[in-house]
Subunit: 147 residues, 2 copies
DNA sequence: TATTGTTATACTCTATAACTATA
DNA sequence: TATAGTTATAGAGTATAACAATA
């Protein structure tokens, strides 16, 4: 009889040596962690990405945000609708088709809390990386998606 | 009148400076790329992760694979069923509850093709990273999810 | 003609609960 | 009592197609 798989003796996982696999596992682990920290604010990570762009670019439209964050127009609609419904984002007419987006006073108050969570999260993430690799992390990632 | 958002002049994206955000964008970009390369083989990236573990650990059960790859038992079932249905993986009794998994001859032939795709993909991924950052990439990622 | 915002829809991935059969 | 495999289901994220109003 074979050893019971529950106590598998020397499990070999070839995936762990593949940068692509490690990238996916690291991403899902960190996004789960971030999601847990944002849940008390009623936000998900995509909400935060959108709010940061609106805050830095008052009057921007959801189409432009979508192109920057690589989110389809069709998928932006419910995100913005939810942020507006909760009173964090306001829409102002740009022309007959477009509406510029702004943070409301409530939205700005929320962002103060968001920044506390994000700063802490990013700090903790970087500190999990051994010091000698830390400075290389962001440039390496950016090379994989920017442009 | 404001500048039309389509031609947004100096769009500021605070997200691009956040390691956590860059990690997510890099991961989704690379997984989309891998998905496109695996599609001709009728495989998705999770199939490949599973097949690599089975190949390296003949007789392993799907529960043990799930714990290694962080896939819920309930979500492993349809993956294994599909791989067995296509004739790439065979099940053999371990005890009344468990079944050990093995690659079939067809499965081994498929793996030769899979390895060609994966080797090329991982090579291309690393080569997109500037040389001075490259060696730091895998150790940094592993620190974020291993253990 | 092209673009914005929107709805509808579908597919994947992920998470939980519950069931059976077995240990 | 705990585990393996399974089914059902629900929530996200993501992709395409289509439409009305507008440029």
């Amino acid at each position: 009889m074979v050893a019971h798989p529950r106590y598998w003796p020397l499990m070999r996982d070839p995936n762990a040596l593949l940068p692509g696999y490690a990238l996916r596992r690291a991403s899902t682990a960190m996004m789960a962690e971030l999601g847990a920290r944002l849940a008390p604010l009623g936000l998900r990570s995509t909400d935060v990405s959108i709010l940061l762009v609106v805050d830095a670019n008052p009057g921007i439209t959801q189409s432009v945000i979508g192109r920057a964050l690589d989110i389809q127009r069709a998928n932006m609609a419910p995100f913005i609708a939810r942020l507006a419904e909760r009173g964090w984002v306001a829409r102002q007419r740009v022309d007959g088709r477009s509406q510029g987006l702004l943070l409301t006073p409530d939205g700005r108050a929320l962002m103060a809390q968001v920044r506390t969570v994000i700063d802490r999260f990013e700090d903790d993430l970087l500190n999990r990386i051994p010091a000698e690799h830390r400075a290389h992390f962001l440039p390496a990632l950016q090379a994989l998606w920017i442009r």
